[in-house]
């Protein structure tokens, strides 16, 4: 049974159990979020940037909108004074954790994050906010080469033993889902270097378009139980069409 909640004064119809962030986005209300990447990845609720104020039975509380399921009618405020203050503080702290991240600096400025002069920024610099999107993406692909290692202030995303991973296929999906471009991918035309490992690049056999790494194409072909095709989507279509048009020709 549908219920109606209001977000920033706008009535929004939703199903019980839906997450506040999804409802807001569906209704065109922007809530900033770093770690959420629905529907590709599961909700993580770790960056805390998407907090909103929720008023239910005249009681107000701050909730993490990407993992807060709506159960009954309520009012949601995404820009209340409290939220602006707390979100600003969260962004200020993320900026200290990842002082070199352009996106975090932009968000901190846009949401008027305070200057925390009394705290030292991460002495190693860096752009990673430890959201774990890359770890989940790698796991979904069946490679699981990444994990969050160590704990507390020394926690970081790394491969086992910080060595080139035996299971990594160089697909760069980790870099693709990273909100702050924290994972370096270097390509020189013949090879791609990522996570301290070199991969041979694959190009379309007809037009020469870059397809990815040979290892990632082979991984995908193995999963689909077919032979790898080194063709771009356009030429793959043409080759298959030829094959269908002339099924009996060798």
């Amino acid at each position: 049974m549908s219920i109606t909640i209001t977000i920033d004064g706008k009535p929004c119809v939703c199903e019980p159990g839906e997450y506040v962030l999804e409802i807001a986005r569906r209704n065109g209300i922007f809530v900033p979020a770093l770690c959420s990447l629905k529907p590709v990845l599961t909700e993580r609720g770790c960056c805390r940037v998407c907090i909103v104020e929720l008023v239910e039975d005249a009681r107000s509380k701050v909730v993490v909108s990407c993992i807060y399921p709506v159960e009954r009618e309520c009012e949601v405020f995404t820009q209340s004074e409290k939220i602006v203050r707390e979100r600003g503080m969260i962004l200020a702290l993320l900026k200290l954790l990842a002082p070199d991240a352009t996106l975090i600096a932009q968000l901190a400025k846009a949401y008027r994050a305070p200057d925390l002069d009394r705290l030292e920024p991460n002495p190693e610099g860096g752009t990673c906010v430890l959201c774990g999107r890359c770890v989940e993406a790698c796991s979904l692909l069946g490679t699981s080469s990444l994990a969050a290692v160590n704990r507390g202030v020394s926690k970081e995303i790394a491969t086992a033993y910080h060595a080139p991973s035996a299971t990594c296929i160089g697909c760069a999906s980790c870099a693709g889902v990273c909100p702050t471009d924290a994972i370096p991918v270097v390509e020189d035309g013949a090879k791609r270097t990522i996570w301290n490992k070199d991969f041979e690049l694959a190009y379309c056999e007809v037009c020469g378009e870059l397809l990815g790494t040979v290892a990632s194409l082979e991984h995908a072909a193995t999963a689909a139980e077919v032979e790898p095709l080194f063709l771009c989507p356009v030429h793959k279509q043409k080759v298959l069409a030829q094959h269908l048009a002339h099924p009996y020709k060798p």
Binding site: S144, L146, A147, N150, R151, A158, A160, S165, A166, T167
Partner: protein, 160 residues
């Protein structure tokens, strides 16, 4: 590839069904057997239970009970909780450094001792507390310390 006898790891693995939920128990047993997780052991565990090596590495680096570098035969833990700190645990650390040339997190060159600085062990009335292997030593001072450590040196009464 494995620096230790593979049969010893194999028998630990076979004590558990090959399921992911036993990852931590297996790693603890390997740690107990060798005093650390030998090189290559994570790969063997991964092959047996299907947990990716990266995740086992995450476990091994998360828990203080697991170590990827060899530990000494005897593990000295000096409590540095509030009470022990006030009662002079830092002077114990200084004394251990003088006696054994050992810093927290380190191991002596002969492999006899490892030193760990831990937070409260819940025995504040006995402060400062030092634990060697499973034995607790209460109200330790520098004179007592030298005697206790001697018992754990090679050939000492507690060095089995």
């Amino acid at each position: 590839m494995i620096a230790v006898e593979p049969q010893r790891i194999q028998s630990i693995l076979e004590a558990y069904p090959p399921e992911k939920r036993f990852a931590l128990a297996i790693l603890q047993d390997i740690q107990h057997e060798f005093n650390y997780l030998p090189e290559g052991s994570l790969e063997v565990v991964s092959a047996r239970i299907g947990t990716p090596v990266a995740q086992l590495f995450a476990l091994a680096t998360f828990y203080k009970a697991l170590s990827l570098v060899p530990k000494g035969r005897h593990i000295i833990k000096v409590c540095d909780g509030t009470a022990c700190h006030m009662c002079g645990s830092s002077s114990l650390l200084v004394a251990i450094k003088q006696l054994l040339a050992l810093e927290p997190g380190g191991r002596t060159d002969d492999g006899q001792f490892s030193l760990e600085c831990v937070n409260c062990v819940g025995s504040c009335a006995l402060a400062p507390v030092m634990i060697i292997d499973d034995a607790y030593y209460a109200k330790v001072n520098t004179e007592k310390l030298a005697l206790i450590l001697d018992a754990y040196r090679p050939g000492g009464e507690h060095d089995e």
